[in-house]
Symmetry: C2
Subunit: 347 residues, 2 copies
DNA sequence: TTGACAGTTTGGAACGTTCCAATTATTGGA
DNA sequence: TCCAATAATTGGAACGTTCCAAACTGTCAA
């Protein structure tokens, strides 16, 4: 079955033209006669010719490949992010190397190196935990555009698209305060990441502004996963002066928190307010529906990809830092619905 | 910042050897003298030389690239599948083009064509709905190994890795029967897919074997999503002779079914038995924990990737059809836990 | 001293494309 | 009829690598 591979020269011979003409046809040049174009096109289809891009960009050294490296494809937030990038990359006629670093910086370095050898035109990176500016410096210095997404790498001057964690966290806390909560916890996440820092500062600032205590005894860090959420809320429940609501590092943690609360016969959204972060797809349909800070990961992915393509095409080295705005989506888990019901009865 | 790009010739000049020697060093050939190897290695690091794989495999025409096309990365089952493939592909020193077809066959065709132009050595495809054998024939005929995963394409002779939907569905139904259910529904999924067919046959066969009615009035098809599950269970609840349990097409549908049941004040796992399919990550931690047929998507992904790499390396055209075995994971949503409690009380 | 041999190194052709400069064919105006 | 201009086509060099056959070095036995 193995075809002996047909090249532009074979096509040329079969169509009775030179390889240069075939090349012109391939690039849709307006220089070539309509009849010739048609004839060559027919031969191409007939012979089953497949364009060899490697050979092409060996000559012109500008590939239509971008690299996408994501820290955890298993997390639906990042999966959505990837899907968003995929959409715009694909529509722009590019194709992507895509790899999952699984939060492993070494593996991340390996795949980036490999992508570089294969001639990628640019990279979108959602960096693994522990990625340093030094890891990426050689790549950046070589003039390949890099866009960081979702997480930043301190000290690295490249473009980035991140969500406004500070504003989101602050809005969420404010909402809980409006609902009457006074002891509000911060649940989940590792405190060595920039994202954690930012959301945490939003939480603290909002607490302070309302004259409330946002001290360390109210923060329960944990793995940013569902299991981590369960663990964190268990610790929370065993404290003396128990909080009545919590802002969670992300939705996974929030779901875990709900699970943990329920195991303790505390109904999330009724007896305890829970707010997540990210607005993962499941947030809307979960029971109770999760009040959360929506960050539109697909949109972020799209913007990141657009930014990268812009840099690739313009060849400029202006760095842009996009902050995706964020919006609190009030559903059931924070208790807002309950309160409205109470108020209706009182009235 | 833009480096003028250093090639093997530059390295050769700087190290005082010929480009052939540098090439030999690059390939780790044993022909080259230890001292020379060291010197060349040093120069490579010093100049920041980056190997150009496109150029290389232009000459040797065997790339280290595989293509992965998945129908819906947003669904965590397929995301896990992708992660599994990523693992083995990466460890084998390959890199992957990865794209999301979003169930769109045209888009799928486009990305596959693009990957082909970029010189992929093989393809793993989780086909979009509506993919026909004809769509893939040219690729297959050209001698590029293809492995189908999760779904089959009727009439196409290539290797595949699919889960044993028949056995899984039958086991699930048998379990519900053992728990005392007699009217058991089949919920969700589109009836135009091979996967649906297979699970459906497992359901029917198990019902018949037990002398039960598995007729059409008990199957409620819908989109294979959480929302679809909600819709399907609503239809189910409005029927006259209401079933007491349901096997769902997949976990997403099962979660939706639970949501729908709860909205109707029916507690899944207590008043109604629900079983899912796939054992998505969230199944374990959901409330109630989902009884489901576990298919280990990561494992399937790994096996698919191994199969593809084997075919690439051996160049053979033996087609293997792997059926991933499947196992019922009994948790809470089917009511088994409840029954055990009852029995304990009775005893 | 020569030849055989192993251990190293090397020049140049080849891979499939693009691009440039040059060539040929066609047209229209003077 | 001839020239200029335009339209279409073309050969060959170049891109960065690998591979082959050939060449060079040194060692050792004859």
């Amino acid at each position: 079955m193995k075809q002996p591979k047909v090249t532009v020269v074979d096509v040329a011979r079969a169509a009775g033209v030179s390889k240069s003409t075939v090349s012109l046809v391939l690039q849709g040049s307006s220089l070539v006669n309509e009849a010739t174009r048609a004839r060559v096109g027919a031969v191409i289809r007939e012979l089953g010719y497949v364009y060899n891009r490697s050979a092409a960009n060996l000559r012109q050294s500008k590939s239509k490949i971008v690299g996408i490296v994501v820290n955890d494809l298993t997390n639906s937030f990042f999966a959505e992010l990837a899907v968003g990038m995929d959409m715009v990359v694909q529509s722009a006629g590019y194709i992507q190397f895509m790899a999952n670093s699984a939060e492993n910086a070494d593996r991340q370095a390996e795949v980036i190196a490999s992508m570089r050898e294969h001639g990628m035109a640019g990279l979108i990176l959602s960096p693994a935990r522990g990625t340093t500016a030094a890891d990426l410096r050689p790549l950046v210095d070589s003039g390949i555009p890099v866009v960081l997404v979702a997480r930043n790498v301190p000290g690295l001057k490249v473009s980035s698209v991140v969500s406004d964690g500070h504003a989101g966290a602050a809005a969420a806390v404010q909402h809980l305060i409006d609902l009457g909560h006074r002891r509000i916890a911060f649940l989940g996440g590792f405190n060595d990441t920039a994202v954690f820092d930012e959301r945490m500062r939003g939480y603290r600032d909002a607490m302070h502004e309302a004259g409330l205590n946002g001290s360390d005894e109210l923060v329960f860090s944990s793995a940013p996963s569902r299991a981590g959420g369960v663990a964190a809320v268990e610790r929370l429940l065993s404290t003396a002066d128990r909080p009545t609501a919590a802002l969670c590092f992300n939705d996974a943690v929030a779901f875990g928190a709900c699970d943990g609360l329920r195991s303790a016969r505390i109904e999330p959204g009724v007896d305890f307010g829970v707010i997540g972060f990210d607005d993962v797809i499941e947030a809307k349909t979960a029971v109770p529906a999760l009040t959360t800070v929506s960050v539109d990961p697909q949109g972020m992915g799209r913007r990141a990809a657009q930014l990268l393509l812009k840099q690739i095409n313009s060849g400029d080295f202006e760095h842009e830092a996009l902050v995706a705005s964020v919006r609190l989506v009030v559903r059931e888990s924070c208790g807002a619905a309950q309160r409205m019901k109470r108020e209706a009865v009182t009235a």
